[in-house]
């Protein structure tokens, strides 16, 4: 486990591009799916990929080099100095559960649309105009 901390401190730039790059990559791929794909389920998959990217970014901004998890386990009471920022973690907890709730409602709408129109292709369902 500590070998990863060592990696995070030594190869700082590789890790930065790795984390931020993959998070932004996830958001871009999710956006691609939502904007271009026709199948309703695939669009909801795109939405959950964008959510995954956002949550990764949220935790990444809270990470501090060489920091430990913000838990005062027995015997480590004094180590306030080397702790990771706890606030983004608390916010991500809420954001993940909200993302799940919205995904559940979206999928129930997809199911009802399929039962009603017998197709899950968004072009066939577009009966509402601008």
């Amino acid at each position: 486990m500590h070998s990863f901390d060592q990696v995070f401190t030594q190869y700082q730039d590789i890790v930065t591009t790795g984390v931020y790059g993959s998070a932004i990559g996830l958001i871009i791929i999710g956006l691609y799916a939502v904007l271009l794909k026709k199948n309703l389920t695939k669009i909801v998959i795109g939405l959950s990929i964008i959510d995954a990217g956002i949550h990764l970014l949220f935790v990444a901004i809270g990470y501090i080099q060489g920091g430990t998890a913000p838990i005062f386990s027995p015997g480590h009471e004094g180590e306030i100095q080397k702790m990771v920022d706890p606030v983004p973690q608390a916010l991500v907890l809420t954001a993940i559960v909200i993302g799940f709730a919205v995904t559940a409602v979206a999928l129930s709408l997809v199911i009802r649309l399929y039962k009603h129109h017998n197709t899950s292709n968004i072009d066939q369902i577009k009966s509402l105009k601008w």
Binding site: S3, F4, Q6, V7, F8, Y11, I14, V15, G18, V19, G21, S22, G25, L26, I29, G30, Y32, A33, K37, K38, N39, L40, T41, K42, V44, I45, G46, S48, I49, A52, H55, L56, V59, A60, G62, Y63, G67, T68, A69, P70, I71, V84, Q89, V92, L93, I96, V97, F100, T103, A104, L107, V110, I111, Y114, K115, N118, T119, S120, N121, Q124
Partner: protein
């Protein structure tokens, strides 16, 4: 050194799983790769000293999100442009 290779491998798997999830026509495999994304994400959170979030992502991201997607696929089409989709008969 090994840890660096493992870390960058995971980042590549993350993006590859996302691309696979979007391009795959068979929705079941696409949903499974969203599960893979959640697994790698949970490991990343653990590495970034966020155990609470790793546990949440594991419990909700991997288990529950994947299962509600699979239930949706069961009630709608399994393949993206499903041949037995009735849209063709209309024309």
């Amino acid at each position: 050194m090994m840890a660096l290779i493992a870390f960058s491998l995971m980042a590549i798997v993350l993006v590859a799983a996302a691309i696979y999830a979007v391009l795959q026509k068979d929705l079941l495999y696409a949903v499974i790769s969203t599960g893979v994304i959640s697994v790698v994400l949970s490991v990343f959170f653990f590495l970034m000293q966020a155990p609470d979030v790793a546990l949440t992502e594991a419990a909700i991201g991997i288990a529950l999100t994947t299962i509600i997607f699979i239930i949706t696929i069961r009630n709608t089409t399994r393949y993206e442009d499903d041949p037995k989709d009735n849209t063709l008969e209309k024309f």
